[in-house]
Symmetry: C2
Subunit: 378 residues, 2 copies
Amino acid sequence: MEKRYLFTPGPTPVPPEVLAATAEPIVHHRGSDFRIVYERALVRLREVFRTTSDVLLFAASGTGAMDSAVANLCEPGDTVSVVSHGSFGERWIAICEQYGLDVRPIRYEWGEAPDPDEVASAVREAGAGVVLCQQSDTSTGVVSDVRAIKAAVGDPVLVVDAISSLGAVPLEIDAWEIDVAVSGSQKALMSPPGLAMASVSQRAFERAVPARSFYFDWPRTKKAQDALDAAFTPAVSLVRGLDVALGLLLEAGLEAAFERHVRLGRAARAGVKAMGLELFSPDDDSSAVVTAVRVPDGIDGNDLLRHLRDAHGVTLAPGQAHLKGKIFRIGHIGWFDIFDIAAALAAVELSLIELGAEIERGAAVARAFEAFEGRVAT
Amino acid sequence: MEKRYLFTPGPTPVPPEVLAATAEPIVHHRGSDFRIVYERALVRLREVFRTTSDVLLFAASGTGAMDSAVANLCEPGDTVSVVSHGSFGERWIAICEQYGLDVRPIRYEWGEAPDPDEVASAVREAGAGVVLCQQSDTSTGVVSDVRAIKAAVGDPVLVVDAISSLGAVPLEIDAWEIDVAVSGSQKALMSPPGLAMASVSQRAFERAVPARSFYFDWPRTKKAQDALDAAFTPAVSLVRGLDVALGLLLEAGLEAAFERHVRLGRAARAGVKAMGLELFSPDDDSSAVVTAVRVPDGIDGNDLLRHLRDAHGVTLAPGQAHLKGKIFRIGHIGWFDIFDIAAALAAVELSLIELGAEIERGAAVARAFEAFEGRVAT
């Protein structure tokens, strides 16, 4: 009977109408019923990516789309630059290493945002033809300025991991001339996990090499999609759900979504600070995807998350790698409103008090609403 | 309002309780709620594969698991033998070619079953270290004797595509010493498409090479699964559905499922013949997955399938490649009973009559029930 709250940066809560769509009877992927849904989902994806280029859709988790970028753009021994400022930057590095590339990491402290000019000069020095980066690294809450990175980097193919940022913060594939961006269904796209996508510009297709993967081969996928077919049996129920979710997102408008995410971030930060906790993620409006918080002294982060879950049905995300136990993260992407922030903050406050911390009751939620409504400076 | 009938060999109809499970609220993949489901699904998969080895689970369509086998077992230039007797044998060849292997096809006419001794001598002649084959090629309805193929082939690693056969016809991974078998959620496992799996024996792990894929890397997947984690965000809603579907399958028992599929095949063949149509798939009990039927003279196969769908809401599968328009296929795998066969046959009979064929009304359904009940020699 206990209500459950999912406040993690992925998977994220999925609206009931999306869940209901995924439970509709299965139809054949080559039948006219599915083609209508498939075509509309592909059109809507292009609208969300703000591109007229192809958005390739895979049955996979987001990492599958990351893998596809490396498999289609790089040959063994190629020099690539990877901008890494968190767990997912390290994932880019691991993928590139698996494919036998000459990987030149451009590493920042976890929690720092990359400097576009520094990145550009490191790329030039390495002579890299492909640059891989994150728009949002959920391990830290940092959202980087991929528009400026592309402008600074220039000619090399830029691949942006927008898995947790697409639909939450602005990403203009065509206007910013982003060559490739990958994403997943289970973040701000408000859908269950299991679908990955890659926007691939004409320029990126021209720079592509023969794919070192059959399943993630871009030209094969494009050719099939162009015929409104799918190269392999698509995850029809997930595509149906994604189509409904994209409809909800576009109906309200992307700009409204971006503004909501900024205000949710403000609310989360204001509430966290009102509790006397220290932010780990940046304390500015770029931080619209996930709010990372330092666990207060004397409290074990793992205990806190376990208590939140077991005593109150609230799931937050832990720190990753060396941040395990030291931070916790409140995701606020996708199907998320101010009342969710309030619930997350209230649950953290209650749990910390139950674990022995001294916190003024009620301040966090009050400050969060004020910040959301724009009644306080943030 | 029209009722729809999905009688294709994949995706297949999914029981409502499985669909309902996929629509439950999304939970975090690292939380205790999901771990219980994940662990149980993995245990049940091993039961269905009849193995104590690992069954690796991927968010992907079945082709992803096929890709994983080639990416984990072969290096460029390796000689492999591919047994091909249909569209999916050709897919093995295409995958192997994409990975730069020296592919030695062992081709049979579409509709013929491979001869294990012939296969073994071709493998020996090629000096192949890996052999890839289908247990069921749904393009033709042929189910091959993979137990005999493994016994004849001996030492080389045998990779069996059991995508459409697992859960429909016997497959004993451990008893038959099958090194690798791949499958998918959307066939006899009665689940929506989007999950792929690969059973990998200890011996296959020992023969594996450094994976030429990040997403489909077997050791990384095994290591994560051993910790009841997943290497990447799993398709949580699909895993939940699969768990329920596997529970249904195992509760009734695999032997009961195998027997039901044999009897469904008998019923389909008896009905088809009673209509005066010619079978394309073998006219024996091996043909328990899909019944392929030659389109009668004077009727266009595409017209027939369109009419079935548009006039009666019934989806059957067309012929593939050079069989397009020449055959149609009735899938009868997974959540399928004799009343489904009756509906499929009645719809074909009605549609053929509406398209101008002369067919005795009612004979097909009557003979189908007799064959299903074992009251006629088949």
